[in-house]
């Protein structure tokens, strides 16, 4: 199967910095992807360029094998509602959904109506008078009900309360199971979406840091907890991502998967294995990349 999204050496230059710096990325499709990274890491810029809302400074961009700019056949299979999406003046949610139904061929009005009820979205108020959470709900409903082959969600949970967030995650999973497609979920709240996403793309400071299956990413590191001296001895020579101490107890997260034998060895030596949370792992990988970058920069100076 060919990738639905292929990006080579993509750079987006702004006056003062590169929002995207020589990014190469291939997305197979048919899964829920997490596009994770800090605020300002380049998530929205990347999605904007993939949907031809913004333009690359250099590099090649291919979606369904073609460049998306002014490409109606490609664009009609994509949906990207921005986090700060604007709507026509005086438009109500009803108007917005009516418009969306004109342009997305897989649009499902029944599903939209169900979501409207779920989110208790007021339909007769103008969108500019909605709360932040209700505004997010409008975008979420367009994204879900469009059933586009590639759907981007840009921080979709902003302002949604806990109940509404859970509704979104549940509906997304249910509908995705029934109508498989490519979902790309951008988020800086990694724990929120970590149970949803099958594949992780981490972007940091305009560069792709991680692009792999969630499961294999979790296997990339292991946390060992126990007596400080024993932990240090065990961790010696391994690449330590993070280390934390409380009294005599130390917890060390190291890069690298452990074999069954190694796991048994760890337990036998009186140490405990603790699960690595996706959030912790990514935060630490990001911090590590940041540290390496600044070290390099200092050397250059």
């Amino acid at each position: 199967m060919t990738a639905v999204i292929e990006v080579h050496n993509l750079t987006k230059r702004y006056k003062t910095k590169n929002a995207l710096d020589n990014v190469s990325l291939s997305i197979e499709g048919g899964a829920i992807y997490g596009l994770l990274g800090r605020n300002g890491a380049g998530k929205t810029t990347l999605m904007s360029i993939l949907t031809a809302q913004n333009f690359e400074s250099s590099g090649t961009v291919k979606v369904f094998g073609e460049h998306p700019y002014e490409n109606a056949p490609v664009l009609s299979r994509i949906c990207f509602v921005r986090e700060s999406q604007k709507y026509p003046d005086d438009a109500t949610p009803r108007h917005a959904f009516k418009a969306a139904s004109l342009f997305f061929k897989n649009w499902n009005q029944e599903f939209a109506e169900q979501l409207i009820a779920d989110f208790q979205l007021p339909m007769k108020q103008t969108i500019k008078k909605l709360s932040r959470g209700q505004l997010s709900a409008v975008g979420v409903i367009i994204g879900l009900a469009s059933r586009a082959e590639i759907t981007f969600f840009d921080e979709p949970y902003l302002g949604l309360d806990a109940v509404a967030r859970q509704i979104f995650y549940d509906r997304l999973l249910d509908d995705y199971a029934e109508f498989p497609r490519t979902i790309i979920l951008s988020s800086h709240l990694i724990d929120e979406v970590s149970n949803l996403i099958e594949h992780v793309v981490v972007i940091d400071d305009g560069q792709i840091l991680v692009n792999e299956d969630t499961d294999s990413l979790r296997d990339r590191a292991v946390t060992v907890v126990g007596d400080a001296a024993a932990v240090d001895a065990w961790a010696g020579g391994r690449e330590v991502l993070h280390s934390e101490s409380l009294g005599r107890v130390r917890s060390v997260t190291v890069l690298g998967a452990l074999s069954a034998d190694e796991r048994a060895e760890v337990t036998a030596s009186g140490l405990d294995l603790a699960p690595v949370s996706l959030q912790q792992l990514i935060v630490r990988l990001t911090q590590k990349a940041g540290a390496t970058n600044s070290a390099e920069n200092q050397e250059v100076r």
Binding site: Q53, E70, R77, R82, K86, P88, F103
Partner: protein
Amino acid sequence: MSRILNVVRLQLINKQTFIWVPLIVLAGAVVVSVLIYAMIPVDTPKYGGGGQAPLWVFFAVGLSAMTMTFPFSQALSITRRDFFLGTVLSAALASVFMAVIFVIGGFIEQLTDGYGVNGYVFHLPWVWEAGPLGAFVVFFTLALFFFLVGFTGATIYKSWGAVVLTIASLVLVLVLLAIVFMITRLELWGDVWNGILHLGAVGLALWGLVVVAVLAGVSFLAFRRAIP
């Protein structure tokens, strides 16, 4: 083509913007004009510029088509070309509608002798010289022109910022000033007025349509690289 027509439907989903607001503004302007005409104690026909009020609404509609509706159209995965053509087509349809209202208004004024107070908002003699069809062309061109000025201005503003928009407006004003200066210097005003009178309102409007077409071209070139 169906995508372009869908953009027209998108623009007209909320009829308030393109239809009702200009109509309400126009109705308001007519009422105010008639009230003022009624207070002026002269017997000769009274003419006023109240009819231009909805044109400014078209300017604002053009502006918001770019700043608000365009970003939304991007969320609906519409190409810039389809959005532009559909939007200009919507504006043309709304301009036709507005021009028809103007012509009907003109007929009403003729039938009622200027609302019984000999005051005219729509039936301006120079504009109606070539009959109702001529008046229609004049009103249509003006409405579309105002829409495109708003849309183009907003496009330039969004693409290159306030400074470039200001400079572009300034350059335009300087060019117009230069033309005025040349005409004055060469003492050609007589010829110019003769030419305008000779062209008539319709002739001018037809030239106006050429200006509208050029403006649309410039607008599209700027719009092609616009970012929501």
